[in-house]
C-alpha cells in the first residue's frame, strides 16, 4: 500500500513537473516517459511497448494473440494493395508521389518546412490524391484505412524516428503544442491524456487496463473489435475525447496532427507493427 502511494506521489510529481518545466526538451521528455514506465513495469522490455496494453496485461494478451492468428485486418491490406497499384484518372499513381513506397510509414509524421506544418501519412496521401485531380479520402473511416493498412503492413519492422529539425523553430513549437494538448485536462470528466496513459497506466477502468503512451503510435491503422472495422489514429483520438465528454476535434486538424507529432516522437526507437488489432 505504502509502495503504491509512493508511486502515485512520484508520478504526480512527474506529471506536475512536466507542467512546470516547459524548458525540458523533447529528448528529456521522452526519457522521463521511458523512466516512468520502466519503474512502473520493471519486467517489461522496451520492445514490448508497441503491443500497447498487451505488454502489461497477460490475460488480455492471450485473447489478442488468438485474434492475431487470423488477423481481422488482412482483407484491408489486400484492398490497400489494389488501391496502391490502381492508376489515378490521369494515369499516375501513389508510387509517383512516394518513390520509396510503399515502405514509407516510418517517414511520418514529419515537419514540413515549406508547408509550415506537421504532415502525417494520411495528410500526405490526400495531398497526393488532390495533386493528381482525385477526391481526398475521409480521415476516420472508409478506404483511407485500406491504403494505410497496406502501407503499415509493408512498413513493419521499420523504426519510429521522428525528427524535430532545429533549423525551423516552428517544428519545436508544433511539438510543444502537442505536448501541451497531452497534458491539458479537458471535457466534462476533466481528464488529460496523461491522467490515464501516464499517471494511471496499468490501472483498470472497469475491466480495461490503461495502456502506456510509449508505443501508442506504432500500429495504426487498427482493427478495433468495438468498431468492427479498421480505423485511423485520429478516429481513436476523437473517440477518446468523446469518452471524457470533450468536443472531438477535427481529424487531421492542426491540434491532432501536433498531438500525433509529440506522441510519435515518444516512440522513437520502437518498431512499427501495424496494422494492429485491439478490443
Amino acid at each position: 500500500m505504502m509502495h503504491r502511494v509512493l508511486k502515485q506521489l512520484t508520478i504526480a510529481a512527474v506529471v506536475y513537473g512536466f507542467a512546470a518545466t516547459i524548458q525540458a526538451g523533447p529528448q528529456e521528455d521522452r526519457q522521463t516517459f521511458i523512466d516512468t514506465y520502466k519503474w512502473k513495469f520493471p519486467n517489461v522490455p522496451m520492445e514490448e511497448y508497441p503491443n500497447g496494453a498487451y505488454a502489461i496485461d497477460p490475460i488480455g494478451r492471450e485473447n489478442w494473440e488468438a485474434i492475431e492468428e487470423f488477423p481481422p485486418y488482412e482483407t484491408f491490406i489486400d484492398a490497400g494493395r489494389e488501391m496502391w497499384a490502381k492508376p489515378f484518372a490521369n494515369g499516375k499513381g501513389y508510387q509517383d508521389c512516394f518513390p520509396d513506397g510503399p515502405v514509407i510509414a516510418h517517414h511520418y509524421p514529419r515537419w514540413d518546412k515549406t508547408q509550415g506544418q506537421v504532415v502525417t501519412l494520411p495528410l500526405a496521401i490526400n495531398q497526393c490524391r488532390e495533386a493528381n485531380g482525385e477526391k481526398p479520402l475521409k480521415y476516420k473511416r472508409g478506404p483511407i484505412n485500406d491504403i494505410l493498412s497496406f502501407i503499415a503492413y509493408e512498413s513493419r519492422g521499420q523504426v519510429t524516428n521522428v525528427e524535430i529539425p532545429e533549423d525551423d523553430p516552428r517544428a519545436l513549437e508544433a511539438y510543444e503544442k502537442g505536448k501541451k494538448f497531452y497534458f491539458t485536462r479537458r471535457g466534462q470528466l476533466n481528464f488529460s491524456c496523461a491522467t490515464c496513459h501516464l499517471q494511471n497506466t496499468g490501472m483498470q477502468v472497469r475491466t480495461e487496463i490503461l495502456s502506456p503512451s510509449l508505443g501508442h503510435t506504432t500500429h495504426w491503422p487498427v482493427y478495433r473489435s468495438k468498431w468492427g472495422t479498421v480505423g485511423t489514429l485520429h478516429r481513436r483520438f476523437s473517440g477518446c475525447n468523446e469518452n471524457i465528454r470533450a468536443k472531438p476535434l477535427e481529424a487531421q486538424g492542426e491540434q491532432y496532427r501536433n498531438l500525433e507529432y509529440f506522441l510519435t516522437y515518444l516512440s522513437n526507437g520502437l518498431e512499427l507493427n501495424g496494422p494492429g488489432a485491439r478490443k
Binding site: A12, V15, Y16, Q188, L189, N190, F191, T195, C196, Q199, N200, M203, Q204, V205, R206, T207, E208, L210
Partner: protein, 123 residues
C-alpha cells in the same frame, strides 16, 4: 371519576403523541433508506456517477481500481460535508486527482450529489 377520566384522556393523548412521533421517525428512516437507494442507483449507473469505473463498491460487478475501494467511509470521512465536497470537486483537495469533479462540472445535479453522498457515506 372525572379525575380518572382526565388521566385516561391524557394517557391516550400521550399514546397518540408517541405513536405519531414513531410514525414520523419511521417515515424519516424510510426516506433516508430511499435516498440511499437513489444514491446507489447513481453510483452504479454507467452514465451517472459510474463510480464502479474506478472504485470497488460492495457487490458491484467489474469494478476498476484507479481509485481506492469505497469502504469504511464514515471512518474516513467523519464529516459528511467533507465527503460531499470531495465528490463535488476532488481537485480542490488535490489538484492532481484523477477523479471527476461531479458537482463543479455539473455531471450530477446538487440533489443527485446529496443522494450519492448519503449512499457512499453508508458504506
Amino acid at each position: 371519576m372525572t379525575k380518572h377520566f382526565t388521566s385516561l384522556a391524557s394517557a391516550a393523548g400521550t399514546l397518540t403523541l408517541l405513536i405519531s412521533a414513531l410514525l414520523v421517525t419511521q417515515t424519516a428512516n424510510a426516506e433516508g433508506d430511499s435516498n440511499i437507494e437513489k444514491g446507489r442507483a447513481i453510483a452504479f449507473g454507467g452514465t451517472k456517477g459510474n463510480c464502479l469505473a474506478c472504485h470497488m463498491i460492495e457487490d458491484g460487478e467489474s469494478p476498476g481500481n484507479l481509485g481506492p475501494p469505497l469502504i469504511a467511509m464514515k471512518a474516513r470521512y467523519p464529516d459528511r460535508d467533507k465527503l460531499r465536497a470531495q465528490i463535488w470537486d476532488p481537485t480542490a483537495a488535490n489538484p492532481e486527482s484523477a477523479m471527476v469533479p461531479f458537482g463543479k462540472y455539473k455531471v450530477l445535479t446538487e440533489q443527485e450529489i446529496d443522494y450519492l453522498t448519503d449512499y457512499i457515506w453508508s458504506l
